[in-house]
Amino acid sequence: MIKYIIRRLLYLIPVLLGVSFIIFVLFNLVSGDPTAVLLGKNASARQMAELREQLGLNKPLLDQYFDVVKSAFTFDFGYSWATKQEISHMILQGAYPSLCLSVPAFVIATILSLIISLVVSFYRGKGIDLFVRIMCIAGVSVSALAYILFFQYFFAYKLGWFEISGFEYGFPDFIPFVALPAIIFILLSLGPDVRFFRTVILDEIYQDYVRTARAKGLSEVVILLKHVLRNAMIPIITYVVIQIPSLILGALLLENFFSIPGLGGITLNALNSSDFPVIKAMAILSSVLYILLSLLTDVLYTFADPRVKLK
């Protein structure tokens, strides 16, 4: 087990170097010299040179690359061009509203999807299965933008059941602000989640061990919950955990529509003001999160399936 984790940890190094390299190429090589944009048209050559010095753009490329790698560990991303604030501070501030929205929504969506897919797998081929399948495929075909726009207009603006936009800090206070975006988040996740979970569960249902379990007289429910679900867990864990990094950004559109001052909002503001360091920081942060979580999934595998250890 320990050996397996160490091996996985070592494998993270080349991946992290690779990710840093892509981000370095994009933001340091392709994006060009930002000083002219930042200082405006009337900047003197000396001012531009000073700013370049300040931003670390006159360092050798190799040093610039190692700065990117280093920031993946230290989370020291420098300062925003637009707000002049420290980026790590901005991210810490933005994390709270984002997590208030996405964590409960994500947990509820995952559990709900799992329950629905177990039910439709139980009634596979019957009316309810067909109905859910049609709903899912129709559901994923509608643009996320259309859902958000319609729900915000209808439930918040027309009926006034929820706050239209904004955010309050503190536990019970944020609920009216995140309730509607959270419901939309859940609805948006149900379609793809149920489709995936159902396929995975049905893949297992036709295996020989299920026939054996049936032959020894176990009830369908026990087979489904004890045998099938356990075996379907590996793809389900992968699918669920791998979604988490995009979670901080997954609510990007929702935060934008509902003016929630989270990480999605920071990213979009940065996008509109061409604030490269912030986008770069978000790219590094979400990738590091992804890499760590893929390590976590690998560890979880060993609990879900003892055979993994042998590999």
């Binding site: 991946v15 892509i22 994923v140 207009y153 950004l249 529509f257 990213t267 996008l271 992804y290």
Partner: protein
């Protein structure tokens, strides 16, 4: 048995399924609309003011007009061209990269496999939306950046699938036989193995198309997509302000247009999998 019987058989099964047939027809209609719009035969005058501002749908303008008095239906048709072109160009970038890298990794194994696996793990480690945003922002807003961004992110899935499938095939008897009669690596890989994994490319392309269309709409909504031309995404962005004034037709037009084609590609992808994947035969 006749040659090509797998494909004929698959096509016959596909056309027997009326949902799949319907989807195929929808895709063909969208492709023709896109082609005609690209040639300027239809919706060429989308930018012309044809009536009053924000007219509700009526006999002359089936989807009404937008704030500048432009025909919404023409904008939807023009948006179809953008959406389909994004799907097409993305596939044209992703398929060669994904197939070649996947095939090389699966066939040769060893350090080639390690290198290519590292490459796609690295690409997939940056969350998709973040990579899309970064690339489009750095290359400058516009349709070209959207092509590159979606192409650069979408070869990964295909590469992984092809790699796995080629790995299974390279040990099979028919490949050994090809080697025994003197076929080299190139011959075995490209003439013998690849034709047997083509179904993965076809299924994946159908699903890739709908992903590209959905992504284009979101990127355009964020202002990163096509500039100065109507896209379904920018139409939905307009609708954000219009909806509270009761102007719903721009949203309805863009959403419905997108819904139909994405639904068609989803259904087609599922149907293709059912008819082409030999493992699912008879299930």
């Amino acid at each position: 048995m006749k040659e090509n019987s797998l494909w004929k058989d698959a096509f016959r099964r596909l056309t027997m399924d009326k949902w799949a047939l319907g989807s195929l027809i929808i895709v063909l209609i969208y492709s023709s609309v896109a082609l005609l719009a690209a040639m300027g035969i239809i919706a060429g005058d989308w930018a012309k003011e044809v009536g009053a501002s924000n007219m509700a749908p009526n006999g002359d303008h089936w989807l009404g007009t937008d704030i500048f008095g432009r025909d919404v239906l023409s904008k939807v048709l023009r948006g179809t061209q953008i959406a389909m072109s994004v799907g097409l160009v993305t596939s044209l970038i992703a398929i060669p990269i994904g197939v070649v890298l996947g095939a090389l990794a699966g066939y040769f194994g060893g350090w080639v496999d390690d290198l290519i696996t590292w490459l796609y793990t690295t690409f997939s480690s940056i969350p998709n939306i973040m990579l899309l945003i970064s690339i489009t922002m750095i290359l400058g807003k516009g349709i070209f950046a959207v092509y590159i961004a979606l192409g650069a992110t979408s070869w990964v899935t295909l590469c992984r699938l092809i790699r796995g499938e080629v790995m299974k095939h390279k040990e099979r008897e028919y490949v050994q036989a090809a080697g025994a009669i003197g076929g080299g690596h190139f011959r075995k890989l490209f003439l013998h193995i690849l034709p047997n994994v083509t179904h993965i490319v076809i299924i994946n392309t159908s699903l890739q198309f709908q992903f590209a269309i959905k992504s284009e709409v979101i990127l355009s909504y964020l202002g990163l997509g096509v500039q100065g031309e109507p896209s379904w995404g920018t139409m939905i962005d307009d609708a954000k302000l219009e909806l509270s004034r009761g102007v719903w037709w721009q949203l309805a037009g863009a959403t419905t247009a997108m819904f139909l084609v994405v639904l068609a590609f989803n259904l087609l992808g599922d149907a293709l999998r059912d008819s082409l994947d030999p493992k699912l035969k008879g299930k």
